[in-house]
């Protein structure tokens, strides 16, 4: 308990989380502070490239076995399953329509790479190791949830086909998955020698870049929250706080069965607990345009993301320590 508290304090008072808080507060105060869209996108490319590359290098160092495949499959299964649970809960407690509930559910089955990155960074500060292949698991968990959500909607009607117009291909080849998997492969191929060549670009400044990126995330989350908070009724907000813990608990069970390390377990829990706000919203605009974006975006980015970043990650790290 003590260590949980000190973990939480170290996390909340880190430059990363404080940068997010600064952005969030600036947006609520309606400051005109903004990070240009191109810069924000460049920062996210950097983070994806760096995290993928480092994951690949660590797999090159440690070798790869059945555990990678098993964890990948577990991640995919979680991503398929969590939307079904989320949908059931939302339909019971929230009063959202089928389409809105399915769209929200898709976000919680998928993952947030930035939450994952923040968790790896917190693990690093705490000196806890984790399996390098968790990056690949993150990539594998992005898409399945979208299929679950489309299936949930299509049960009730005929017209939406998951593969309408190449949507499936689009989801699987979306930029962040490709970059994450690709840089993972590059890291794997070039190994520690490759890392040495570019480590003063992808390792040394990493946390600082993360600060600026989280500043922008805070701005965006704060703006979304300010504009749309009145569309979120209390049961929906509560869902945004409880669902990470439900998904996380499920993932904790998987981690125990898989025999992951403490750090690996913390990351699998974080992935399950996190919710998407890039890939899934874009897919929803194409596949379920009737779903209201201010509900799913605000909930994911304005409620669950800050919750995970501040309170969630220390809990998930502590939980990871319990099962390892």
């Amino acid at each position: 308990m003590d260590s949980l508290l000190s973990l939480a304090a170290a996390n909340v008072l880190s430059p990363m989380v404080l940068s997010f808080a600064l952005g969030f507060a600036a947006a609520l105060a309606r400051s005109d502070l903004t990070v240009p869209e191109a810069a924000a996108k460049a920062l996210s490319l950097y983070l994806l490239f760096a995290i993928g590359f480092k994951g690949g290098v660590s797999v090159a160092e440690s070798g790869v076995g059945a555990d990678l495949v098993a964890t990948l499959l577990a991640g995919v299964a979680l991503s398929f399953a969590i939307p079904l649970i989320a949908f059931g809960i939302l339909r019971t407690v929230s009063g959202l329509s089928v389409v809105d509930a399915a769209a929200v559910a898709a976000h919680y089955g998928s993952i947030s790479v930035v939450t994952f990155v923040a968790a790896t960074s917190a693990l690093g500060s705490a000196g806890i190791l984790y399996e390098g292949y968790m990056v690949a698991v993150a990539a594998a968990m992005e898409a399945p949830a979208i299929l679950s959500a489309l299936w949930l909607v299509s049960r009730g009607r005929k017209e939406t086909h998951p593969n309408e117009d190449g949507l499936l291909r689009e989801i699987l080849l979306n930029g962040s998955i490709v970059l994450l998997v690709g840089s993972f492969a590059i890291g794997w191929i070039t190994g520690p020698a490759g890392l040495e060549e570019i480590s003063s670009f992808i390792v040394a400044p990493f946390k600082g870049v993360l600060c600026l990126f989280l500043l922008d995330m805070g701005l965006v989350a704060g703006r979304g929250f300010r504009n749309a908070s009145n569309e979120l009724r209390p049961p929906v907000i509560l869902f945004g706080l409880a669902m990470p813990l439900i998904g996380g608990t499920l993932a904790l069970g998987c981690a125990a069965l898989l025999g992951l390390s403490a750090g690996g377990a913390a990351l699998l829990v974080t992935l399950a607990a996190s919710s998407s706000y890039i890939a899934v919203p874009a897919a929803m605009r194409v596949a379920l345009p009737e779903a209201n974006p201010s509900i799913y975006l605000t909930l994911s980015l304005g409620v669950t993301f800050p919750f995970n970043l501040t309170v969630g990650i220390p809990i998930y790290i502590a939980a990871g320590g319990l099962v390892a």
Binding site: L219, R285, V286, P289
Partner: protein, 103 residues
């Protein structure tokens, strides 16, 4: 200077739909169009702005097509099939063009 009557169709649509729209236009034989970026806007689904977005999820674009008057209905049918279920606005203006052979 010699000019010719034409129609200027402006379609404001969500960025994730751009690809589908231009594919539909091409299928309908409309091969000339220009895509402009959009910074923000407001409509029935509220106010939005590029700044309040993470990445491409919610942005919009404006697609401008200049066509001969007799082709405008084909164009609108094709566009409407894509825009129908989505947010977005279609407007048509009379215009004049140079070099009619290009349209």
């Amino acid at each position: 200077m010699q000019t010719h009557a034409a129609k200027r169709v402006e379609i404001i649509i969500e960025a994730p739909m751009e690809e589908r729209l231009t594919r539909a236009l091409a299928k309908a034989g409309v091969t000339g169009f220009t895509v402009l970026p959009v910074l923000g806007g407001s409509g029935r689904s509220g106010r939005w702005s590029r700044e309040g977005q993470v990445s491409r999820a919610g942005g919009m674009v404006a697609v401008v097509c200049i066509v001969r008057p007799e082709r405008v209905d084909t164009l609108l049918d094709a566009a409407f099939a894509v825009v129908e279920r989505h947010v977005g606005v279609v407007s048509i203006t009379d215009c004049q063009v140079l070099r009619a052979e290009r349209f």
